[in-house]
């Protein structure tokens, strides 16, 4: 039916030095879809975006944006896309308006188009009253909004947003979610975004790919992904020895309706079909063992659980590499100005 806005086959990127940042990644994004890449620091999200936006050459595999090949038809690809990096790439030494003017020039907008588009995007991100001030005087959230406005100046067919809400407070984050949903509603733009916030992926995205260590672990709508684990998650804590806990977990795994068991700090999260009817069986199965259940709660399955089950790690536990930490500091310094 509809055309595919992005199509990726076996995309791979090995950096000099041998780090395989993206490994045999394949997926597609339909026109008008909001598609999310969900993964921890260093998963390969930005590297994938760099390849799709012609900023990095794939080591292997192929990708198209609006039907144009990203390695052979770079000019057409660049015209089709807007790119908002995770770097807050706005020029401090220009005003907000001048940043947008420059961006409009880069995309070859005519004078008339500029006169229409610049106020339009400024209005959309609520920066009209600050447009004539130097960006130097902007807060982190304002910079991010300006950066997004710049990405929209030429009405791209596909918008790439790399961690659009990283380091922003809850209020600004919600505003940005609003812009993104409004964009899709008003212009039917295809949006590819990366995030490591579960809530963001869950709320905004039509479909999500979970990416970890360069590979895609699962793709689907948020509810499809959640239903792979069943309806509920029972969170357990045991008393007793490690051996006893292992024994208890083995018994629980053997019960009907149990989909997945994942460790989360001191707790174990057990995905089950139906929490209320399964929980009594847990007690029955473990009551004569060396590790009794000492705490329990029943929750709906969240994307967190899906993530945990596909990667074996919790997002928030993820250690960031030194380089990432450094980049984060640079970003935060810029945010604070």
């Amino acid at each position: 039916m509809t055309m595919k806005a992005i199509e990726v086959r076996g995309l791979t990127k090995t950096y000099p030095g041998g780090i395989r940042a993206v490994d045999q990644v394949s997926f597609w994004v339909g026109e008008g879809e909001i598609f999310g890449f969900l993964g921890p620091n260093g998963a390969g999200k930005s590297t994938t975006i760099l390849m799709l936006t012609t900023l990095a050459t794939p080591t292997a595999g192929s990708a198209t944006v609006m039907g144009y090949d990203v390695t052979t038809n770079t000019d057409a690809v660049r015209r089709s896309l807007g790119y908002v990096s995770q770097d807050l790439a706005v020029d401090d030494s220009l005003t907000g308006w001048e940043n947008l003017y420059l961006q409009a020039r880069f995309y070859g907008l005519t004078r008339d188009e500029m006169r229409r588009r610049i106020p339009e995007v400024l209005d959309m991100v609520g920066l009209t009253s600050r447009a004539r001030d130097l960006v130097e005087t902007y807060s982190g959230g304002m910079r991010k909004r300006l950066d997004i406005a710049a990405g929209l100046i030429h009405r791209p067919k596909v918008l790439f947003l790399d961690e659009p809400t990283l380091g922003l407070d809850i209020q600004t984050r919600r505003e940005i979610w609003d812009y993104i949903t409004r964009l899709r509603e008003e212009s039917g733009m295809t949006i590819f975004l990366t995030t490591h916030y579960m809530e963001e992926a869950d709320r905004l995205c039509d479909r999500i790919a979970i990416i970890d260590r360069g590979s895609i672990k699962a793709v689907g709508t948020p509810s499809e992904l959640k239903s792979t684990l069943g309806g509920d998650v029972i969170v357990l804590r045991f008393g007793g020895t490690d051996a006893g806990v292992a024994e208890a977990l083995a018994r629980i795994r053997a019960l009907p309706g149990v989909r997945d068991v994942a460790r989360y700090g001191d707790d174990y999260r057990v995905a089950v079909q139906d929490g209320e009817s399964t929980l009594p069986q847990f007690f029955a199965a473990t009551q004569d063992g060396a590790a009794p259940i000492v705490r329990v709660s029943i929750n709906r399955v969240t994307l967190d659980d899906v993530y945990l089950s596909f990667t074996g790690r919790a997002l928030r536990d993820e250690e960031s590499s030194r380089e990432d930490a450094l980049q984060q500091r640079i970003r935060m310094r810029r945010v604070r100005g």
């Binding site: 012609t54 990095a56 660049r78 807050l88 790439a89 020029d91 420059l102 020039r105």
Partner: protein, 261 residues
């Protein structure tokens, strides 16, 4: 296609000039520094000129007149070799990726930046001419000579900034770029005819000075200050500077054409 290249070059140039005007202290320093050089060297070397031999070697009875072209080229050299620094900032701040993700001609990046450095250099050289005039140095070739000197300085700045832009594209860090640039500038300066007449140099140094690109810029400019309209000197040296500038721009464009990020 050609109009797009021109438009993109102008975009890059426009941004660089916006940044330049914000750096008012830098502009002031770039004028004060040569003024100090001229004042200091003029006084230090003034005694030299009591000896008629020295005046003959310098080609003028006034050491300040001799130094003016040297100081102009020195300012141009320093302005030029740091022309690549902005690329390193652009890369670090994500502005380079933003440009490269847009459908702009890659060549526009080095050409626009080199052009901005050339214009900034021209402004500085014009200001130095003014300072020199206040210190009593008049171009014997008059205002037309000043304009031609500015033109040669601008071309010379293109040589240095293109080199710096090529290095910056490869080195990717400030530290590395500064190290290479510092390694280059002092020897370039002191093995040229900028500060001292080549006649007083030992033979080996004189042969280096003869082929040093800095000398090719200083010689015609000095000719314009103290000599006169002698086109055998002016034409030949200006042509060499222009040819070197063209070559460096081509190399820079080739370097940036293959740049993805």
């Amino acid at each position: 296609m050609r109009t797009r290249l021109a438009a993109d070059v102008y975009s890059v140039f426009w941004r660089e000039m916006k940044r330049f005007w914000l750096q008012k202290p830098r502009i002031v320093v770039s004028v004060i520094q040569p003024a100090i050089w001229l004042g200091l060297m003029g006084n230090l070397m003034g005694g030299l000129l009591d000896k008629p031999m020295a005046a003959a070697v310098l080609g003028t009875g006034n050491y300040l007149s001799f130094m003016t072209a040297g100081v102009m080229v020195m300012t141009t050299l320093f302005g030029g070799v740091f022309g690549g620094v902005s690329i390193i900032w652009d890369r670090r701040l994500g502005l380079l990726n933003k440009m490269l993700a847009a459908p702009i001609a890659r060549a526009a990046i080095p050409v626009g930046k080199a052009l901005a450095v050339a214009v900034q250099t021209s402004i500085q050289v014009a200001l130095i001419a003014l300072v020199a005039r206040l210190l009593g140095v008049a171009f014997v070739t008059g205002p037309a000579g000043v304009l031609m000197a500015i033109g040669i300085a601008a071309l010379f700045s293109v040589i240095m900034s293109s080199l710096s832009l090529i290095l910056a594209a490869r080195l990717k860090s400030h530290e590395a770029l500064f190290a290479v640039v510092n390694f280059l500038t002092m020897p370039l300066m002191f093995t040229s005819n900028a500060m001292f007449p080549t006649q007083t140099m030992p033979g080996w140094l004189r042969s280096i000075a003869a082929y040093n690109p800095v000398s090719y810029a200083v010689r015609p400019m000095r000719q314009l200050v103290t000599g006169g309209w002698d086109w055998t000197v002016l034409g030949q040296d200006a042509a060499v500077v222009a040819a070197m500038a063209a070559l460096m721009v081509i190399l820079a464009v080739l370097q940036y054409r293959k740049m993805v990020a």
